[in-house]
């Protein structure tokens, strides 16, 4: 492949082209097939229009936004922790947000409508924020290889606690709440309707923009905190901005679509191999790459067992879990060399 020689900007354009293609395929395929011509205003019938406007368009948009957020959030966390395995799911951010949202559903007395939606955003944000602050406090006490292990163990512990908390909540939940929990919790874009998508269209670009502005700081941080300070970096302010943006974005994503794992691990890792670790390119490229992966995965989830639908979180975990194991094996080998 000549990929190594292409200009990095060209690579982002290639990704954008692939995303456009995936969106076209995603728009036309499903239980009710739609001709790609509809994108050019050629409406076959009222049903086609309904499916496109009420179901597919908001779902595609939500997939783009959440995919972009999860991947860019992963890239930023990895830069912040200087650790290629730091991922919002592995570190427990997503599950922390999930536990907070589940607690709201079960204990919050069932708010409906837009108010309930925003309360869920807030719960997700706070859950993710608490976990990231905690993980960061643990992670900064260690250096090098020790830090990698400690972080992953901390994430494991948080995931176990969140799992147990979620189980407890499911245990005390009423039947109606239980149905709501299981619908939301598996990680799926199936509930993407305009109110949720519109809210995501406000919150997630905000978080993405916040992350994009951290690119130079994240690059500098790779020098080590002391050297980066001498190169003009205010590491504390960078940390605050990254953690806030990731918590906001991941919290909102989890509130909307449940836990969709491994996108934040997979996408930045592949892209770093392809275009290098510089965040000025890696962050925007991860946004496009994450959107691409989630749109493709969601299209598969909708169509592979049609008319039934596989939760897309299952698919990304099936893809990402083995990849993560392979990464661990590879790291072990390089460590021994």
């Amino acid at each position: 492949m000549s990929g190594g020689q292409a200009r990095p900007e060209t690579k982002v354009l290639v990704l954008l082209g692939l995303l456009a293609l995936a969106l076209m395929i995603g728009a036309s395929s499903g239980v009710i097939g739609l001709s790609p011509r509809l994108l050019f205003g050629d409406w076959p019938d009222a049903l086609g229009w309904q499916v496109w406007w009420q179901l597919r368009l908001p779902r595609l948009l939500l997939g783009v936004l959440i995919g972009a957020m999860l991947a860019a959030g992963g890239a930023a966390m990895q830069g912040l922790f200087r650790n290629p395995l730091a991922d919002p799911t592995l570190l427990g951010l997503a599950n922390g947000a999930g536990l907070a949202v589940a607690a709201l559903i079960v204990l919050g007395g069932g708010m409906a409508g837009p108010l309930g939606l925003y309360a869920q955003f807030l719960a997700g944000f706070i859950g993710a924020l608490v976990v990231s602050a905690l993980v960061f406090q643990i992670g900064r006490r260690y250096r090098g290889r020790e830090a990698v292990v400690t972080l992953l163990l901390a994430g494991l512990a948080i995931n176990v606690i969140a799992g147990a908390g979620g189980g407890l909540l499911a245990f005390i939940a009423s039947d109606e709440q239980l149905r709501q929990l299981s619908l939301w919790g598996m990680g799926s874009l199936a509930h993407a309707l305009w109110p949720a998508t519109l809210a995501a269209m406000v919150l997630l670009p905000l978080a993405l923009l916040g992350l994009a502005r951290c690119a130079r700081g994240l690059d500098l941080l790779q020098l080590g905190e002391l050297t980066a300070h001498a190169a003009g970096l205010d590491a504390q302010s960078l940390r605050r901005r990254v953690i806030l943006a990731v918590s906001l974005g991941v919290g909102a994503s989890v509130a909307l679509a449940g836990i969709i794992g491994f996108i934040g691990l997979l996408v930045p890792h592949v892209l770093r191999l392809w275009m290098g670790p510089g965040h000025r390119l890696l962050l925007p490229a991860s946004m496009v790459g994450g959107a691409l992966l989630l749109v493709v995965a969601d299209t598969l989830a909708r169509t592979m067992m049609s008319p039934a639908e596989v939760p897309v979180g299952l698919l990304t975990s099936l893809l990402g879990g083995p990849y993560f194991l392979w990464l661990l094996l590879r790291r072990r080998r390089t460590a021994m060399e």
């Binding site: 990895q78 200087r82 650790n83 290629p84 250096r143 090098g144 690059d219 500098l220 790779q222 020098l223 080590g224 905190e225 002391l226 050297t227 300070h229 001498a230 190169a231 003009g232 970096l233 205010d234 770093r272 290098g276 670790p277 510089g278």
Partner: protein, 249 residues
């Protein structure tokens, strides 16, 4: 350029008060046993740690009161070797702290990086990586150009710990050249006392977080203090007006 007024750190690790000045065009060596506070001193001089009491002034203004971006072009640091988490291409890594492409080319030449300029930093040996770190700091200051009109400070913490003896000598000569020709002020933590005695204009000897001696290498090595600080049996002779140390068998 750098003035310490009774600057001290009460935190752990602690550092007793020091008052001194570093002039442009001076190569200051910092020596002392493990845990003496050398790296702590570097973080104080760099402004990463603020003094608990006293002041550290750069061109008459406290380090914390400088604009960080402007100060970054005048003060750079090479920390103790730490491998980057990601595999940067060397040429890309050199530009991380800022610097022109000319400055990067000069630094590549000065640290003899031509052979692995296009390679990933993860595949380099410890010594090669150390040279990349030093070159990056030079890029940040554009240290291989200009004269002493713009005061510039370079702080190095054991920059030669992984270098072979040839590169150690060439590094010390490069530092001397930066000081003499470009008017930089350089503070360099060294473990090799002979290198320190041979190349530094002035030495600070640290022990248990306090500066116990300071002066020219001859002055610092003059009495038996150095052997006591390091708890080692030494013979000190003079060679070209510079002290030379030998371990006693």
């Amino acid at each position: 350029m750098l003035t310490l007024e009774e600057a001290c750190l009460d935190t752990t690790p602690r550092l007793a008060a020091i008052s001194d000045r570093l002039a442009p065009g001076e190569l200051l060596g910092v020596i002392g046993p493990n845990g003496a506070g050398k790296s702590t001193l570097i973080s104080l001089l760099s402004g990463y740690r603020a003094p608990s009491r006293g002041r550290v002034l750069f061109d008459g203004v406290a380090l914390a009161d400088h604009d960080p971006a402007a100060l970054a072009r005048r003060r750079a640091l090479v920390a103790q070797a730490e491998a980057p988490a990601f595999d940067w291409r060397v040429s890309e890594f050199l530009g991380l702290g800022g610097g022109t492409s000319d400055g990067i080319a000069r630094a590549i030449h000065a640290l003899e990086l031509e052979a692995f300029e296009a390679r990933g930093i993860g595949g380099l040996s410890g010594g090669e990586r150390q040279r990349v770190m030093i070159a990056r700091a030079l890029c940040q200051l554009d240290a291989l150009e200009g004269d002493g009109t713009l005061t510039r400070l370079l702080l190095l913490d054991e920059p030669n710990s992984a270098l072979d003896i040839g590169h150690q000598q060439r590094l010390m000569r490069l530092l001397q050249r930066l000081v003499r020709e470009r008017g930089l002020g350089v503070v360099c933590v060294l473990h090799d006392l002979n290198l320190a005695a041979t190349y530094c204009d002035r030495l600070w000897l640290l022990r248990d977080g306090a500066r116990v001696a300071s002066g020219t290498p001859r002055e610092v090595f003059a009495n038996g203090g150095i052997a006591e600080v390091f708890d080692v049996e030494l013979e000190i002779s003079l060679c070209d007006e510079r002290p030379r140390l030998r371990l006693r068998q």
